[in-house]
Amino acid sequence: MRLWDGDSGVSIVNPENRIFSWKSIPRSSRIILITTMIIVVLITPNLAEGYYESSWEQIEKNTENNYNSAIIDENGDAWVFGDNGEIVFGEKMEQWVNFESPTNENLVTAHANNERIVAAGNNGIVIYKEYNSEEWIEIRMETQIDINSVSINSNNEIFVVSNNGEIWCFKEDNWVEIESLVSEKLNDIVFEGERGLISGSSGLILGSENNGENWEIRETPDEVTDSEIIAIDFYGINRGYAITSNGEILKSTQEELTTTVGYNWYLKEIESENQSTSLDVNLTSLEVLSTTKILLSGDNGYIALSKDGGNIVTPQLLPIEGDFSINDIAMKNAFVGIIVGDNGTILYTENGGEDSAVGFEIIDLSDFSEFVDFTKDNLLEGLKATVKIVIFGILLGFFIGIALAMCKTAPTTLKQMIEGDLERTLTLFWVIIPSTIFCIRIYGLGLGILSLSGLIILFSLLNYYINKNKIEKEGFLSISIPNGYRTNLIRILGLTLLIGMPLIGKWEIKGGIELIYTALSDFYSFHLGSNTFKLSAQIAYIFAPIGDPSAFMRLILGVGVTYLGLLFLTTNGTFSKKYIPYGKLVFISLLWVIILAEIFIDPNSSGDKITSWFDLGWRLFLVLIGLLVTKRILPKEIKSVLKNSNDYTLTFEPWKIRPLQVIATLYTDFFRNTPLLVQFMFIHFGLQLGKHIQNIGLDLTSDLITISSLLGPLDSLLHPTIDYISESLFGPGKRSYLSAIFALGLNSAAYQCETIRGAIAAIPSGQMEAGRSIGLTYMGTMRLIILPQAIRICIPPLGNEMVNLVLNSSLASVIAYTELTRQGKLVVAITFQIFWTWGMVMIAYFVVTWSLALLLRRLEEKTRIPGLGISGGN
C-alpha cells in the first residue's frame, strides 16, 4: 500500500516495509494462510437434521375408480362420490364402506346441508338423501345435461349448474330453469345464507342475493377473462375465495359497509411465487378452513396449504406416489378432513393437511450453547451489515475530510480572486454558473451537477495548456483585461450579483437582493412571531428554515451574493480594509435598543410574583451582557470621543475572507453541532436521502445497461456485473443502507477534517516555504510535502475517529438497518436472553473495533519516518 506518493513514484515506504505486501509474510505463514482459507471455504458444516413428513393418511382403497367429490355431513360422517355412481360412506371418517347407490352415472359433485345430502353428475343425474333416511333418492333431470356442481340454498332448494350457462333449481318436486343470461360453462355453485355465487369459464362469476332466483354478473379482474374459474366458496359473511384452472386465486372481501362480499374480486399476488398471480398448477378444488387458511388441490397430486389468505402457498407432502389428480377436499373443521382423487384415492388428515416436522430439536434457549447456535447466524448477519456501512463510511469520511481540510487551509483570499485572477472569476460568475443553472433547470439536477464539474474541468484544462510555461501568465485563457478596465468590470460584476439577470421565464437568474427579499417574505408569511417589537417575540423564526427549506437556501445564498455584490460595487481598486466611522457606537446603540426593548416592552406581564422573579433575573442578565459587551468594544475613556474619533470606527477586512474556507466551515459547523442520532433520522426519514440516491443509482444503472447493450459481445460480461453491483447497492431494501453510509460518512468527514487540519497545522511552516521556494504550487506542496507528513501525524486521532465510526454505526439501528445492534434487539425479542445477547453483541463490536485499532497501530509503525518525531521507543 503506497501512501501519498501521487504519481511521483517516490517510494515513501520501502517495498519490504509495505503493510500488506505479500512478500513480507514469511513463506511458512503464507502456506498456513492459504490452507486455512481452502479448508474454511470447502468444508461447510452439515446443518439439516430435521425433516418433514406428510400428515395425510391413506384410506385403504378397494377400487381404481375415480373419486370426484366428497362432503362431510352434519353428523361428521364423510361421503365420497365417484364415477359409475359409486358412493363411499366413512363413518366418523374411521370406518369406510361402500354404500348402495341408485345409479351408475358418474357422480361429480355433492353438497350437504342440515337436512339433506345431495349429489349430482353426468346426464342429469341428481340423487339426494335425507338424514333420517337410509336411501338415496334419484331426481334425474329431464334434460340430461352434465351437471358440474350442485348446492342447496337456505330454502332447501337444490341448485345445479351446467355447461352453456344453465342453472336449474329443484323446487316443489320440479326442475325449473333459472335465467342466467350467460352462456358460459358454469363450474361451481355455492350458497351462504341467501347469498349465492356461481363461477364459470371465461372468468365468469355470477351472484345472487335472493337465494338463487336472480343472478347477476359480478366483476372480475381482466387477467382472468381467459381462465376457467373452477371453484368458488364463501367463508363466513365477509370472505370469498375462487380458484382458476391456471392456478390463480381470487379473493373477495367486504369492501365498505355497504358492499357485501362477492362483488369485488381481485387477483391474489402470491408472495411465495415471487408476486406472480399464478401457482402454475391446474387447480381442481379449494376449501376455506378459516379467514386466512385455505387448502388447494390440483392435478398431479397437488395439495397445498396457505395460512395467510394466499400470500404464501406451500405444497404439502402426500404419502403416495403417482400423478393422479386430487379432485375434492372435504374438511370437517380446520384440522380434520379428507381429500379424494383419481384411482380410488382417499386421504385423511387430522392436522389440517400440514406437514409435520420431525426430528427438529426444540431449542431450549436457556441453554447457552443452544442459544449461541440459534443466534449466531443472526449476529453474523448483523456483523456483516455493520462492516459494510463502516467501510464505506470510513472511505467517504476520509476523502471528504481531506477535501474539506484542503478547503479550510486554502489560502486563496477574495482579494486574490478579484485582483489577480479577475478573468477567471468573471468566467466563473458570468459563464459557468449561469450555464449550470440553465442546465439544471432544463435537464434536471444530476446533469446540472455533471455539467458544472465538466465546465470547470474543461476551463481549467484549457487554461493550463494555454498558460503552460509562460513566465507571466496572461490572464485566463490568454484573455487579459487591461488595467484601466479592471476596476469598472469589478463594479459591473458587483451589480450583476445584486440584480441578477432579469430575463424572462426560465432564463431568469435572481440577484442577491431579490433572493433575500423573496426568502424573507416567504418566512414572514408563516407569521411565526408576534407583533411586539422585541427580539424574543420573534424567536420562533429560528424554525423558519425547515418550514421552507428552499427559502432558507435562498436566504443564505442571497446574503452571500449581496455581500459580495455590495463589496464589488463599492470597490475603489485597492482591496484594503473598510472603515465605518463611529461604527462601534452604532453597534453598541443597536445592542442597547434591543436590550431595552426586551426589558421594557412587556405585553405578557402576568403580575404574578413567582414568574416576575425569573423575569427580573432575565432582565438583569441582559443588562449585564450589554454592559460587558460595551466595555469590551468601546474605548475606555468616553472623553476620548472628542479627541480621537478613530477609536469608534469599526474596521474589518472584507477582502481577506477565503471563499473555500467559508463553504467548508458551513459544512463542518452543521455536522459537528448536531447529534449523530438526530442526523441519522433527519437524513433517512426527513430528507429521504436513501430513496433519492437509490433512484439516482437505478437511473444510472439503466443508463449503463443501455450503453452496455450497444457494446455487443462485451455486453454479456458487463450486463450481469452491472446488475449484480446495482442489486447490491441500489436494490430494494437498500435505502436505509445508503442513508446509513451517507449519514456516517458525512458526519465523520466533518470531524476528520478538523483532525487533518490540525495535523497540517502541526507541520512547520518552513516546509511550505521550502516547497514553494523550489517553485511548487500550493496544491503541489500540499500533496507532495505537507500531506505525507501530516497523514502520519494524524493517524492516531484518525484511528480514534474510525473507532468512533464503528461504534456509531450502532445508531443505524434507528433507521431500521439491520446491523449488529438491531440484530441484538431482534434476538432479545425472540429469545428474551438479554444478558447473553447484548454480551455477544458487545464482544462482536470489540473484536471489530480492536482489529481496526491494531491495524492502525501497525500502520503507524510502518509509516514512521526515521528520525522524525517522538513516538516512544527509538
Partner: protein, 247 residues
C-alpha cells in the same frame, strides 16, 4: 556591463501588527556577485530575503528578477520561485523523503524531468556538496551540517538564477559550520549569484563581494568587504565591536 540579476527598489514591509520591518530598501545584485547582509536581530534581513521570492508580500516597492517584476499580482509566482533558490536557517528538508528524493522532487515536479534524468542531475549536485555517501538516508539521520549541505544541493539542482541564504549556519555547531561555509565559498567562486544573510562576519568578509549592513529596516552602510575593517558609520562600528566581544 554585467547584467543585473536582482533589483530591489524602495522595498517596504509593514507587518499586520504594525511592525515596520523594512522601511525603504534599494539595492542591486549583479550576475555572479555575492552579497552578504548583516545586521542585528530585527533589522529586517530575513524579511528582505523572503520578499525577494515573495514568500512574504511586500507592502510597497518593486522587486525584479532579470527585469521581470516579481511582486506583480499577475506574475506566475511559481515560475519565478523556481528560478530563485532558497536555503533556510532550519534546513527545511522534506523529512519523509530520502536525500536523493529531496533533490529530485523539484526536478521531477517543477521541471518535469523523468526519474532517471532527475536522479542523474541530483547525483551531480550531491557530488558537488560532497554528500554522495548518504543519498539513501533520511534527513532525520543526518547531522546539521549534512542537512544544510543537502539543502544547498536542493536549491542548486534547480539551476537557479540566484540563491538566497537565510542565516545558513546559525543553527549549526561551530564544528559543522566549516563544511557548509566551504560549500558556499566554492559556489561563490564558481560564479553563482548569491544573497546571504549571516551572522558570520568573517565568512562575510571572506566570501562576499559586497556587504550590506542593515539597521532598523534601512541600509545603514554598504560596500565591499573592507567596510568591515574600516566601518564608516557609527552604527556599524558599534555593531562590529559588539560582535567582537561575543567572539
Amino acid at each position: 556591463m554585467e547584467e543585473i540579476v536582482l533589483e530591489i527598489e524602495n522595498l517596504e514591509k509593514i507587518y499586520p501588527g504594525g511592525v515596520h520591518a523594512v522601511r525603504g530598501i534599494s539595492f542591486n545584485v549583479k550576475k555572479g556577485e555575492s552579497v552578504a547582509i548583516i545586521g542585528s536581530s530585527g533589522s529586517g534581513k530575513s524579511t528582505i530575503l523572503r520578499c525577494i521570492n515573495r514568500l512574504i508580500e511586500p507592502t510597497k516597492g518593486t522587486i525584479k528578477l532579470n527585469d521581470q517584476i516579481v511582486n506583480n499580482p499577475l506574475a506566475d509566482v511559481n515560475e519565478i520561485r523556481s528560478k530563485i533558490g532558497m536555503v533556510f536557517q532550519s534546513f527545511e528538508l522534506f523529512s519523509h523523503l530520502t536525500v536523493l528524493d529531496n533533490i529530485t522532487l523539484g526536478l521531477r515536479h517543477v521541471r518535469g524531468l523523468k526519474r532517471e534524468e532527475a536522479e542523474e542531475n541530483a547525483l551531480k549536485v550531491l557530488e558537488r556538496v560532497d554528500m554522495l555517501d548518504r543519498i539513501e538516508a533520511f534527513p532525520g539521520n543526518l547531522s546539521g551540517g549534512q542537512k544544510q549541505r543537502v539543502a544547498i544541493a536542493r536549491a542548486l539542482a534547480m539551476h537557479p538564477e540566484a540563491i538566497l541564504f537565510d542565516e545558513p549556519t546559525s543553527a549549526l555547531d561551530p564544528e559543522l559550520i566549516g563544511s557548509v561555509l566551504q560549500t558556499i565559498r566554492s559556489l561563490a567562486n564558481e560564479g553563482m549569484t548569491m544573497v546571504i544573510v549571516t551572522h558570520e562576519i568573517n565568512f562575510a568578509r571572506d566570501v562576499a563581494d559586497r556587504i550590506i549592513y542593515m539597521d532598523k529596516g534601512i541600509i545603514a552602510e554598504q560596500g565591499p568587504s573592507k567596510i568591515l575593517e574600516s566601518p564608516k558609520s557609527e552604527r556599524l562600528k558599534q555593531f562590529l565591536s559588539s560582535m567582537d566581544e561575543e567572539i
